[in-house]
């Protein structure tokens, strides 16, 4: 149960590939953190650096203030579960007991701990069976048990549910949450599946191209993304992003989208001096849509309708050159005209570079 601090970590593979670009991250003690991002963003590299499997090209790793950058995984007391399910060629009992046996713990103590963990994970009936003959879900549970039995400082998981069948996936997710709650274990979970991250984690670090873009709770990531990448990445589908130009007239300022305008005079102080071009974002589920004209509503044409689960639909609407996606239960047919309203409080404004202003 430690706090982990990554200080200015840069990592280059084989002198050529820049995997991590000067990242710093402070993971609180006892928290469940997810590292989320597209393939190749550096999340697995980060995890392995925390584990001690890789020594970073530059930068330091601290556990509770102690510099562990040069320590082995053993010395850091980390436990790791891999995407590729790792189970040794021995009985389930021996698998789970393995790290304890390696440390030379007395047999009685080992027996106690193994049985306790097996119980927690529902493996008791499998204890005497050869581990490599069981199904994927059970095997991953064995790997999990083996990691937990050591009572490590940190628990690292690298996309552990990718190779597991869907039913076991739900089971193991529930187990992970339970464990984290009961043991107050510091956990770091790497995934590219945001549904997983959003359900499991207390805080998520969204990464892209070797940088951490935002480290925040799922709610804040959703409502207040720090930049356009996070806005677009989080959510299914992500935030609508449209280009706009700042226009000043009659002491009022507007964002001009060619076919419509939005008055943002109240943000004058924040907007001033930040340039002329902006990116405006709003989530599909927040756009209000009607089938009949209304004041302050913008006309658009729905050119594609996707059915989602339940009654929800995803409408693809074009307003001139602007493309918007809207989530609504409203029964709209392809080709119909709709009227849209973008509620001010749900609009997010990003500057040209993509950082959040409002």
């Amino acid at each position: 149960m430690v706090e982990i601090y990554l200080e200015n970590i840069t990592h280059i593979y084989e002198g050529r590939t820049l995997a991590l670009n000067n990242i710093s991250l402070r993971i609180p003690n006892g928290s469940f953190t997810a590292l989320l991002g597209p393939s190749g963003c550096g999340k697995t590299t980060t995890l392995r650096i925390i584990a001690g499997l890789i020594r970073p090209t530059k930068g330091k790793v601290y556990f509770d203030g102690d510099d562990v950058t040069y320590l082995t995984p053993q010395e850091r007391n980390v436990a790791m579960v891999f995407q590729f399910i790792v189970v040794y060629d021995m009985s389930v009992y021996k698998n789970i007991a393995f790290p304890l046996k390696v440390r030379g713990l007395p047999q009685k103590e080992i027996d106690l701990r193994v049985k306790r963990i097996a119980e927690k994970l529902g493996l008791t009936q499998y204890l005497d069976l050869p581990a490599h003959k069981l199904d994927a879900g059970t095997r991953q549970k064995v790997a999990l048990a083996r990691a937990l039995v050591r009572e490590p400082n940190v628990f690292l998981l690298d996309e552990p549910l990718t190779n597991v069948d869907p039913k076991s996936r739900l089971e193991i997710r529930a187990i992970l949450k339970e464990i984290q709650r009961d043991l107050k274990q510091t956990m770091i979970y790497v995934t590219h599946d945001q549904a997983e991250a959003l359900t499991l984690a207390e805080k998520i670090a969204v990464m892209n191209k070797g940088r951490i873009l935002q480290y925040d709770t799922p709610q804040r990531l959703y409502e207040y993304p720090a930049n356009t990448f996070v806005a677009w990445f989080i959510g299914n589908p992500g935030m609508n992003l449209i280009n706009a130009v700042l226009v000043e007239k009659n002491d009022r300022i507007w964002l001009d989208f060619k076919l419509f305008k939005i008055d943002i005079s109240e943000y004058r102080d924040i907007i001033k001096g930040k340039g002329e071009k902006f990116i405006v974002g709003i989530r599909p589920e927040y756009i209000r849509v009607l089938k009949t004209p209304q004041d302050n509503y913008i006309k658009g044409r729905c050119y594609l309708v996707e059915r989602l689960s339940g009654k929800m639909r995803l409408l693809h609407v074009e307003i001139g050159e602007i493309d918007l996606k809207i989530k609504t239960p409203l029964n709209v047919k392809e080709g119909e005209y709709v009227w849209l309203n973008l509620p001010k409080e749900k609009i997010r404004i990003f500057d040209e570079k993509g950082d959040l202003l409002i």
């Binding site: 584990a51 001690g52 499997l53 082995t72 995984p73 053993q74 980390v78 436990a79 790791m80 891999f82 995407q83 590729f84 790792v86 040794y88 060629d89 021995m90 393995f98 790290p99 390696v102 440390r103 490599h132 790997a143 083996r146 050591r150």
Partner: protein, 288 residues
Amino acid sequence: MASRKLINIIAWLPVIYSFAIIIMPFASMIYYSLFDYDLGREPIFIGPGNFITLILKDSVFHKAFCLTLLYTAAALAIEFPLGLIIAFLLYRISYGRTLFTIIVILPLTIAPAVAGIIWRLLFDVSYGHVNYYLSLIGIGRIPWLISPQWSIIACIITDIWQWTPFIILVALAGLLALPKELLESAYVDGASAWVTFKDILFPRIKPLIAIVLFLRLVDALKAFDNIYTMTGGGPGTSTTTISIYNYLSLMTFYHVGYGCAISVIFLVFIIILINIIIRRVRHILWRE
């Protein structure tokens, strides 16, 4: 249709070929083993006569049998652990593994007969390299190919030199095929190199090793080339293994009937041995 018939005829050709090249000589061998037949003389049918002589009266054959078993056991007992250890060491290094592997498997690339010739020179009592280097560390001249006891040891050493690389190659390939997460997991769990190998890696390559063990066993029992070029079976009969004795009987002394009988006995022996081993090793080969 015409083409169907043609295919049928063509399909028989390999069968006829096999029959001619393999089955015929094989059948002849069994046939002549029942005769008292020295090349040039008339074959006399004696049924099991040759076999009785070999099993009960021929002390050279008895010695050859024991030598063959000794040679095989000693060679395998050293090749296997040595091969596995070196394979594991190669597995652990990250830089230059390819280069080291190439160097290590060089002995495998030359013909066994050539290996025998090379080592005959190396084992030369007065001018050979082996005795020279031994003298540098204070060990006196060993009468390698002169003494009955040392000559068989020399043969075994040559076999080890040449065939350990085979074990290394296969074991290394097996290890490299394992997922790296397996090794990493063991590392994170804190296992030492030895424990990692023994408990985690080795069980995974057991089927591979079993197959290689099997191949080497049969090969070592039949070993001929390196022994023949190095000692010719001598001095006396001290390196006359079954293969050598077989060859000598047939090609040097032209005891065709007798030589064929030796071949048959050896064949039967190997078949029985293989069957016993497969039965025992089955559960390792097929990891159900």
